[in-house]
Symmetry: D2
Subunit: 420 residues, 4 copies
Amino acid sequence: MAFNETDLLANRYNQVRGLSVGLAEGLSDSDACAQSMPDASPAKWHLAHTTWFFETFILADHLPGYEPFDPRFPFLFNSYYEAKGARIGRAARGLMTRPSLDEILAYRRYVDAALLEALPAMARSALCLVELGCHHEEQHQELLLTDILHLFAQSPLAPALWPTGFHGPKASAEALQWVEGRQGAVSIGHAGDGFSFDSEGPRHTTWLAPHALADRLVTNGEWLEFITEGGYEVVGHWLSDGWAWVRHNAIEAPLYWRRDEGGAWASQFGLNGVTSLNPHAPVQHISFYEADAYARWAGARLPTEAEWESAAQCLDPRGGNFLDRAGAVGALPPPGGKPHLKQMFGDLWEWTGSAFLAYPGFRPAPGAVGEYNGKFMSGQFVLRGGSCATPRGHVRASYRNFFYPHQRWQFTGVRLAKDL
Amino acid sequence: MAFNETDLLANRYNQVRGLSVGLAEGLSDSDACAQSMPDASPAKWHLAHTTWFFETFILADHLPGYEPFDPRFPFLFNSYYEAKGARIGRAARGLMTRPSLDEILAYRRYVDAALLEALPAMARSALCLVELGCHHEEQHQELLLTDILHLFAQSPLAPALWPTGFHGPKASAEALQWVEGRQGAVSIGHAGDGFSFDSEGPRHTTWLAPHALADRLVTNGEWLEFITEGGYEVVGHWLSDGWAWVRHNAIEAPLYWRRDEGGAWASQFGLNGVTSLNPHAPVQHISFYEADAYARWAGARLPTEAEWESAAQCLDPRGGNFLDRAGAVGALPPPGGKPHLKQMFGDLWEWTGSAFLAYPGFRPAPGAVGEYNGKFMSGQFVLRGGSCATPRGHVRASYRNFFYPHQRWQFTGVRLAKDL
Amino acid sequence: MAFNETDLLANRYNQVRGLSVGLAEGLSDSDACAQSMPDASPAKWHLAHTTWFFETFILADHLPGYEPFDPRFPFLFNSYYEAKGARIGRAARGLMTRPSLDEILAYRRYVDAALLEALPAMARSALCLVELGCHHEEQHQELLLTDILHLFAQSPLAPALWPTGFHGPKASAEALQWVEGRQGAVSIGHAGDGFSFDSEGPRHTTWLAPHALADRLVTNGEWLEFITEGGYEVVGHWLSDGWAWVRHNAIEAPLYWRRDEGGAWASQFGLNGVTSLNPHAPVQHISFYEADAYARWAGARLPTEAEWESAAQCLDPRGGNFLDRAGAVGALPPPGGKPHLKQMFGDLWEWTGSAFLAYPGFRPAPGAVGEYNGKFMSGQFVLRGGSCATPRGHVRASYRNFFYPHQRWQFTGVRLAKDL
Amino acid sequence: MAFNETDLLANRYNQVRGLSVGLAEGLSDSDACAQSMPDASPAKWHLAHTTWFFETFILADHLPGYEPFDPRFPFLFNSYYEAKGARIGRAARGLMTRPSLDEILAYRRYVDAALLEALPAMARSALCLVELGCHHEEQHQELLLTDILHLFAQSPLAPALWPTGFHGPKASAEALQWVEGRQGAVSIGHAGDGFSFDSEGPRHTTWLAPHALADRLVTNGEWLEFITEGGYEVVGHWLSDGWAWVRHNAIEAPLYWRRDEGGAWASQFGLNGVTSLNPHAPVQHISFYEADAYARWAGARLPTEAEWESAAQCLDPRGGNFLDRAGAVGALPPPGGKPHLKQMFGDLWEWTGSAFLAYPGFRPAPGAVGEYNGKFMSGQFVLRGGSCATPRGHVRASYRNFFYPHQRWQFTGVRLAKDL
């Protein structure tokens, strides 16, 4: 890595690290400490854990004589890297009232200073870990937002993180059109020089049957129709596990939808507080089970991840509604011409019908960072494309996100597919 | 379907129905009533539910004037066919002390007589349902055995269903060899005239990367080595969900293994009671999590279902160690020549690394029977090949069995695979 | 104990042991094996456990050379006597399909023969244990009935143990009258030569404030009024724990009440099957929480156990509606004169407002049988007087039964009390 | 109430309100927000709920034209007063990151100013509620401390609320002596003009059998002996529910005891952080189950509440080790002469063997405040005497505290009793 490359990396590091701090502006010490469910983590924990990553995998391992900020922090802020020692129980993260948010911000500054000073002399292997750490932190930026949203949704006061400016995925009133996909042998998976997570590769051949993808995401208006027609009450639409989930949790609408006093679904809670339901906006915060049931009700199905990736390979992954800075989502340039795929990147993560499994020839990254993805390869489904809470530039056509089929506190949506 | 075909079907019906009754011989009224866990069903329930299937989908639907044996039975013995009305809660099946086993056997005779009398005049669509019902009952024959085994394993008296005769999967002392599989575009899925379940089709193209399969199943001796080397204690071998399962349930060996007084794993419980562990016999009653962890420890992986099916297409699915009659497992003809695949059919269901999902173009069968498989397409993994408790003739190369990754009370085993 | 006394004891033994077998007539092997909830035990288990008591505490301990019926039975049929070795998990009792009911009946005959032969030569300490064993078995006779009732109540077939003959507590259409109780220092607790359980003593002084007891039990008709007036919906009637129980379990009526098709409470399930609700019959199968809430709603309270015992001391404990033989409940002789207490003995166990705690100077019986009562002295409430399922002669004025405040599968009822 | 009395009440109000704020000094916004278990509440919630009490029951009900600080607060800070409207779920209190601690302190100042201004003109009934509110707040002061202690005990950083000054109950190295109690008819319960909670009355006669009380609390050293002799491992010492609790939770020592690196019990965590175990200090943070098991092991029993109160009636309830101000516990004047009872008031709440039930003639206070105590009269045991975390002056001889038998995060201890 040449000198210029190191400069670029330092710039990138500063930009990523700065965005995290920006996202936490407006949070009180308590806001940053509370944990609203075991799946979520406190904002403070995200800010500290991402810093711990740089301190542990880079400074401690590659900078001789590095003095840790606080020797107790590794125990507090390790997540699931079993190879790096004991950890605090996941569900108890919200009880860590100390260190305070201010102390965590000081921890961040300490590590930032040490890392930026050490960067020019670092070995290439360490620089690659810095790059990985930036991508890792971008993931946690989105999680920080979804976790704060979930926390604030529990509050009777319904606080808004960003009362103005943030509007989530963009609305579109156009009728759905079908776009035919490629058939036969196609190549998917990451290849080339750029960064990717281990589970995105290796690049390999797969075979696509004739199919088409919807040109846009399913909207709130369409979802209301699904509800009106008994979508949540007809067992035949649902997977067996999905139906059990619906019944056990009395699910009757997307996660943050709220009723008006007359009982009608009229608004939703978001990072900008409670806003009225826009029928043309994409439906969000739905589980895989709901996405799958909707598709069956609509006479369609979910795309496979190979269908999605094959279609996305010709699109610019930096375009679309992504998070550009705290509170702001960038505009999507208007596309033109014949039927084409909209909202593929940004807006909402799209559930696919593919289980998150290893690609042929997959090998986990060596060392502790190799715990990253491979260990989650059971029971989860793949989502593609990023969301309005994903930092712009974070995702690629080959990017594989994954969650359990009942989870829906992420910015998730659904695009239909069908066999031809 | 010509007259001869009807005769053949009647023969097949008699043979299948007779085997079920044979399997239940030796069970007391209580043995046939108890339910040892929610995943399992009482033997009596299996005997009644399979009969309910013929009564409901064939006699009631296709035989004008048919008088049901008891109008209350549909409520008692429906399983998950939501379209066919209310059902008794799954976990409460063991509380149905009445009707008695004797009454259920009378119910079977009543339905058998009606069906056999009606068979010659039945429409083709009804005859297809009879065929389906026979396959359905064969599935429940294996479940009846695995559920009784689980029940008897809870008993301090360790009763044996078949004290003699049944020996489970066959032992083999030969060293493992690797057999290279096909590459590139291959066709899998069911095609042709024979019976198959809806999820086995449609036949379609898929793409195989270079790989090899082990020529035999993993043995008890090899598994003991895995345990000795800390297999159940090293987090790095395990999927994240698998590790949580191991810890939460204090798992330390296959399901029915037992220690001697010195604490060593020395015997296992089976349908023939407690027998000493044979190091050359295939290891059985393991979960997907265990199979996957073992494979990772061994530097290998599980086969995909496409790899398995592609390799099995040239083998005779009626060969191998299957259940031929109550208590008896047929012998495997000795194969000859160069490295080749053994134990593919029969012996033990083989976990694959493939999630149970729809094939391209999959359409559930119409009507209530269409609830059969499609609704289970989340969270489960595919197993292939049948077991020593599967009635001979029940499985095919395209046959897809599926269970959750933690389940292991079925006759499950593991065959290794690797990338080339 | 003189020769005549031994004869009397043998008679009593035969009578008690015979009643147990009589109660189990009409049960199939499965009926006797199933366990409908952890609080309940299989009928077979009651039959075996009471036999185990005689075999373990008397034959094994006091008869040199006694050969046990089956050396594995102690493990199977010990209940909570920790001092007597390991036990099978309580919730797994329903999985003991073997030994069969027939084998248990043979076990009973074997022990009966050995005990009756040994009785004439037994030491007085052993004879006292025989007496204790008879009382112990009488307790289990009532439990056998309540557990079978609970099991049959789960069945969609609603089987009746005794289709005719058994009618439970007797109805009375008379208006409630108050009977003033004694005041000041009174003596309660068992004294004298007769049998009692350790927790009934020692006899001691306690102090009663001015109070009155209702002359009869609360009726179904009165309870319907409680329901109609929102009894189960107004938090103010309930203890905090009781309200949580009502909400969590969606309680809205006594345990075995059933609605008609119009939704009205119209019938109840009992040992004689489903019968219509008699407004004049005592309400039964209610929890302490319900009894307490009803009393508060009625402007009254529950009696203390000292108030109840003090009032009962002048009544004949063998009078009243008790179990005389399988299926039959004896008649209550009509009382005469001024206001007096009815239904004190028999009919239904009456919840008191007293926690089950040690009397002053209480000492548990020595040895393993001393585990009998003292260990349950937290969290339970005292019930008094016996029920229509209690064998006649089993209870006394000093008899203390006890259950947790949420339990209601026993034959429980409520008598009001008030301060004067 | 004359003018002077109003002045006195204002002084008392100021003193109580000031102490609460003092206790919260040293807490960060997060410390004051987190909830470590459902039994506990956030410090912020205690500060707000006690203020809500004054605002709701006094200002809103008795001060015409009073403008609430924030109309949303009643929903947030109601506790269990069902009569006063809906409440936030108890387990979700820790998710109320807003309002902040600073806002709550402003809320307190607002209510304090309004109340003090209104006080001189208030009706006597309102003044009585002010008095009640002060006692209510004193209860929450102790809970605030026990809840913060429990929260900090979860932290790997083991923070101390009061690093110096607070030393908990006082140590004493003297041998235990027995002090005989009164016998026969005695009067207990509150009488007279002073304040008391409804459950302390009415005063009534009860009867005491011959007995003696230990002159001091059980010590850490004595408890270590109990542990060494297998106290937590011998089922015979334990109540049945207690043994289940020990096993299910793997209990092996008092709540905040900690082992040294060699595995020996060497220190305990408290409001002053981790300190070494003083063998002469009273053992604290034990459950009723533990207290009861210890007493049984020691050949003694727990006192009844009547025995305790009868003995305490001649002692000064303001003497002893109580909380005098944040971080400080007052000294106990040395007693002299013959065997006498020490540590009766202050130091630690003493478990009694009495269930928390209504006294004869008990009537709950009218209105919403009447929900205060009566609804908890099932399943809990009485504790007496106050602790080092109880504000001095809060308790009386008749004062009844109550907790479930498994709870031990309060400052609880044990004094032995025995029959004579």
